[in-house]
């Protein structure tokens, strides 16, 4: 509304300024000859000046004066006289001109703005956006706000600490790794930070604990033996590395230290079973049908099994960008470790199709398949 008030006002002023002189009744400034006379006078002054300075001698001076005089006379005889009578005021032409302006100006302005303009787009200067009430803004905007703050002030350790878990939740694990690294650089290593960085690294690696993360978990556990989370990953790393004996010890240790209703116990027990199976030390008691049903129930209702989610993410990535050999290797390994045999076989089949020219890889896949089929 304010916009149209101002725009309308400006348009009105513009039209007014345009048509006012058309009707004004002041006298015309003179005939064309009057203007020529001014040029003639200027020329005469100039010639006088040249004589004063001695640039031209008396003879040339006379001659120049005569030439200018002739020129002016010629002008006076031809062009100007009849024209000067044509300076009419108002009348029909004025009316037509005014109507033309009154129609064209607003028509072009409104029509053109309707065509090209972005009505109702408010100004959004950056500072105002950053100062605005954060409630009601999208996570992306908030995140960008935090990011631009951190770009301006990259030594704000608390800022990195706040932003890192948000990255994790949004699935931007690589950014989370960077954020945790910055937090550690500024705030110094703590058991919790090292664990979080290790976790972010593990997620970035598609669920497989990388060497750097493993080292971080060990340091974290050493710094604070009460911190249970690193123990989980250390045990998982043993499983993934095929060191099942150490894995069994680690899982047992974790289970012993965990409070009874800890959410990770389910997974820990599954993984322990897996390790024991591989070692052949698992007690030969099959779970009852009810147990399996319960486990299924639990795994659905329980806190999201984050390893599965990681694997799903990797699977998604591979669907989008299938020509990623290490990705396939990793996902097959993950499925194998998680004992998702049919998924693993399906992945192997797909990879075999995709990389049929890569003989070495095909051979590796065949080996994996035979292991799974045992």
């Amino acid at each position: 509304m304010i916009f149209w008030t101002i725009a309308g006002l400006v348009t009105l002023i513009t039209i007014g300024i345009t048509i006012y002189p058309v009707f004004g009744s002041s006298q015309a400034p003179g005939s064309a000859l009057d203007f020529d006379k001014e040029v003639y006078k200027a020329r005469l002054r100039e010639i006088e000046e040249e004589r004063r300075l001695g640039t031209i001698d008396e003879k040339r001076y006379e001659y120049a004066l005569a030439e200018e005089g002739r020129r002016f006379l010629a002008l006076a005889n031809t062009s100007a006289a009849p024209k000067s009578q044509l300076f009419l005021q108002s009348g029909k032409p004025a009316l037509i001109g005014a109507i033309f302006a009154i129609i064209v100006i607003p028509a072009v302005a409104f029509g053109g703005y309707y065509q090209w303009g972005s009505l109702n787009s408010p100004d959004q200067p950056l500072q105002a956006r950053l100062d605005a009430d954060p409630r009601g803004q999208s996570v992306e905007i908030l995140l960008q706000r935090a990011e631009s703050q951190l770009i301006k002030n990259p030594d704000d350790g608390r800022g990195w600490l706040v932003i890192a878990p948000v990255y994790m939740r949004l699935g931007r694990s690589r950014d989370a790794v960077q954020a945790y690294r910055n937090a550690i650089r500024i705030l110094g290593p703590t058991s919790e930070l090292q664990t979080s960085l290790g976790e972010a690294l593990t997620v970035s690696a598609g669920g497989v604990v990388p060497e750097e993360a493993n080292e971080l978990f060990r340091q974290a556990s050493k710094a604070n033996p009460d911190n249970i989370k690193p123990l989980f990953f250390i045990a998982l790393a043993f499983n993934q590395a095929g060191e099942f004996k150490k894995a069994v010890t680690a899982w047992n240790d974790l289970i012993a230290k965990s409070p009874d209703n800890s959410p990770w116990l389910k997974i820990a027990r599954q993984q322990l079973q897996l390790a024991q199976t591989k070692l052949g030390t698992r007690l030969p008691e099959n779970p009852t049908a009810r147990d399996i049903e319960n486990a299924k129930q639990l795994s659905v209702n329980d806190r999201q099994d984050f390893i599965n989610s990681m694997v799903e993410r990797l699977a998604g990535d591979l669907e989008e960008n299938p020509l990623n050999k290490p990705g396939w290797q990793r996902i097959i390994r993950s499925y194998t470790v998680l004992d998702r045999k049919s998924d693993a076989l399906a992945a192997i089949n797909k990879a075999q199709q995709l990389f049929k020219d890569d003989k070495e890889f095909i051979r590796e896949l065949e080996q994996n398949k035979s292991v799974l089929n045992q």
Binding site: T18, E38, K41, E49, S79
Partner: protein
């Protein structure tokens, strides 16, 4: 709302321009003063509207309003303030808005300062200006709208191209554009004259200040651009015969020719048709330059063909205005009476000589610039017409012209005396000869041609003041009286002298740096030394620095000058954070008129840095010369003697007029 109001006022200006392009010219046709007078008000209003629009875009840039696409694409919230302002015209859309703003400002200047113009002429001129405004406003609104918006703006912009983040960009384009657009006024005057069929000495007198203003700004813009390229691009060159440079040089050549031919028309009423043609050509060159730079045709003819919207639009503008005005010229030139007669050896003759060579030079540059483009368009082959072509063609054309420069002002109108003029130039001839001898004596490997050109430079420089010396005549009048007389001389005479002197100064700089420049390229590690022209450079250390939108490594050189004094030079390598774009900043040390120039190359595998060093003797004269030219132009512009008053009845501004009379 500010941004949208800016957009609205731009569209409103289009409506106003449409009215101004039709109504006043009809008024002039039917002799209706009210309709003619309308252009006075509308052109001022239009300048105000477009100023507001430009101000709104500037506001968006300064406040980092990334909801404006143009702002988001070309700026960054962490830029220093100066570059937030200059980012406005550091891109296609914004620079066109600046172009149009200047166009409107010029029209309003004609309206305000044109009280001495007959109403019909003024109405026609302002209508023609409005045609150009309509064309460019449509171009902006349809193909290059700087006010496009984003619904969900990002929080950070893409930054301005790092090469453009420099004080040079803040100054160079506005100067150049003001010059380009200033030529639209002379074009409008020429077209108006063709429409009304009236063309005489008075016309030349009325046009004179506008051509001069445009010329002064073009000169300043080109010189500034050249110095900017020199220090920013790090190649140490000051002119590359690059199409973009030629695009600004061609209007300058045409405007220079126009200034001189208008002189003949003003004083002698000769060369009328030619002068009008030059006025058309000068602005056509401006349009051509705008087309070349803005259509993308330079990057590749094919890129132009695949995204032709903008290019075709400007091409249409080009064809419409150049073709239209030339057609009008062809229709009307026969009606125009030719003027006074003159002998070949005369002031007029000298100015014709000047015009012949300047326009031939213009044709040369035009061919050299367009030929590669045409060839690529026809058969796809990419050739580059570089410095060798221009040096072989443009250079020789300039020599006779420069030789003739001192003669011109000394020849009388109608019939001159060449020998008498020469006898007044003995001092200049002596200085030139001395310069040649000294050059040959004190340099070992300079080619004779170089010595001759240096002589030519001195001939032009000293000869420029021959007329002043003749008019004051120290030997006859004594120093005191000569000084008094010198001060009494008209400004336009001093203006001519300074402008011609500047030409000589620039020439001296050009020869000196092209012939005597030395260059050393060396791989250097910390602690290494290099020697160039007696200067010893030591690479001391590298200090990293963090600026708001870039990080840089400053390479610290300690320099020992031949005279024993020590100073530090700090070229740098920068990385601009947003665009991840590296740039190098050269370091320049000026002593006298000469410069030591250090520029950085790549860091090689064994961790040493390639350093390019130049000793550029008298290089600054190139730009100092143009400052003299500008000064000359301003002196001439300030010459009150040449101002024409408005008729008494009209003048509520009669004060000015009576002052002029008193002065006269």
């Amino acid at each position: 709302m500010i941004v949208e109001l800016g957009h609205y006022t731009l569209v409103l200006a289009l409506g106003l321009a449409l009215v101004q392009s039709v109504v006043p010219i009809i008024g002039a046709r039917i002799g209706h003063f009210g309709l003619m007078r309308l252009a006075n008000q509308t052109s001022i209003m239009m300048a105000l509207l477009i100023s507001f629009s430009f101000g709104a875009l500037t506001w968006a840039y300064v406040n980092s309003d990334f909801s404006v696409v143009n702002v988001w694409q070309n700026s960054h919230s962490l830029q220093p303030y100066l570059y937030k302002y200059s980012s406005v015209w550091g891109n296609h859309e914004g620079s066109l808005l600046l172009w149009v703003l200047f166009l409107a400002i010029f029209a309003s200047l004609v309206s305000v300062f044109g009280k001495n113009l007959p109403p019909e002429l003024k109405a026609n001129v302002l209508s023609v200006q409005a045609w150009i405004l309509v064309a460019f406003l449509l171009f902006i609104l349809i193909t290059s709208n700087p006010f496009e918006r984003l619904a969900n703006p990002p929080l950070e912009g893409n930054d301005l191209n790092p090469i453009l983040q420099d004080v040079g960009l803040a100054i160079h384009p506005p100067l150049l554009y003001f010059g380009y657009v200033g030529l639209s006024v002379t074009f409008a005057f020429a077209t108006a004259a063709l429409i009304s069929g009236r063309l005489d000495a008075a016309w030349a007198r009325w046009v004179r200040p506008w051509t001069l203003i445009a010329w002064v700004f073009l000169t300043a813009g080109i010189a500034m651009g050249s110095y900017w390229a020199y220090y920013e691009l790090g190649w140490g060159g000051w002119w590359f015969w690059d199409p973009v440079e030629n695009a600004s040089f061609m209007p300058w050549l045409a405007a220079t020719a126009l200034l001189h031919s208008a002189l003949v028309m003003e004083k002698r009423e000769a060369l009328k048709i030619w002068t009008v043609l030059l006025a058309i050509v000068a602005f056509s060159m401006s349009l051509l330059g705008t087309f070349l730079v803005r259509s993308g045709v330079l990057t590749s003819v094919h890129a132009f063909a695949t995204d032709p919207e903008r290019g075709v639009f400007i091409l249409a503008i080009l064809v419409l205005f150049i073709g239209g005005s030339l057609a009008l010229f062809a229709l009307r030139a026969g009606v125009l009476k030719s003027g006074g007669l003159f002998a070949p050896i005369s002031r007029e003759g000298a100015l014709v000589f000047n015009n012949l060579f300047l326009t031939s030079a213009l044709a040369t540059v035009l061919v050299g610039t367009l030929y590669p483009l045409l060839l690529e368009a026809v058969n796809g082959s990419k050739i580059s017409v570089g410095a060798p072509f221009f040096n072989l063609t443009f250079g020789p054309l300039m020599m006779p012209l420069l030789l003739a420069v001192p003669f011109g002002p000394l020849l009388a109108w109608k019939r001159g005396d060449l020998l008498a003029a020469l006898s007044r130039l003995y001092l200049a001839a002596g200085a030139a000869l001395l310069a040649v001898i000294i050059t040959l004596a004190f340099t070992t490997d300079a080619p004779v041609l170089a010595a001759l050109v240096i002589g030519l430079a001195f001939w032009v420089m000293v000869g420029a003041f021959a007329e002043i010396s003749v008019r004051t005549d120290i030997r006859k009048n004594g120093i005191a009286k000569a000084f008094a007389r010198a001060f009494g001389l008209p400004g336009s005479l001093w203006g001519t002298a300074f402008a011609h002197f500047g030409l000589g100064v620039t020439l001296l700089g050009i020869v000196s740096v092209s012939v005597f420049e030395t260059e050393v390229i060396q791989e250097m590690k910390i602690g290494d030394k290099a020697t160039i022209s007696g200067y010893q450079l030591t690479l001391k250390n590298i200090s990293p620095r963090k600026a708001s939108n870039y990080n840089e490594d400053i390479i610290n050189f300690e320099v020992l000058a031949p005279g024993g004094e020590k100073f530090v030079m700090q070229p740098a390598k920068r990385i601009y954070t947003t665009r991840r774009m590296p740039t190098t900043e050269s370091a320049i040390n000026t002593s006298g008129f000469s410069q030591l120039y250090v520029s950085l190359g790549e860091i090689s595998e064994n961790n040493s840095l390639t350093v390019r060093m130049w000793w550029k003797p008298q290089v600054t004269l190139i730009w100092l010369g143009s400052l003299f030219m500008i000064f000359g132009g301003l002196l001439s512009l300030a010459d009150r003697r040449l101002r024409v008053g408005a008729p008494k009845r009209a003048a509520r501004a009669s004060k000015v007029e009576s002052e002029v009379t008193i002065n006269g």
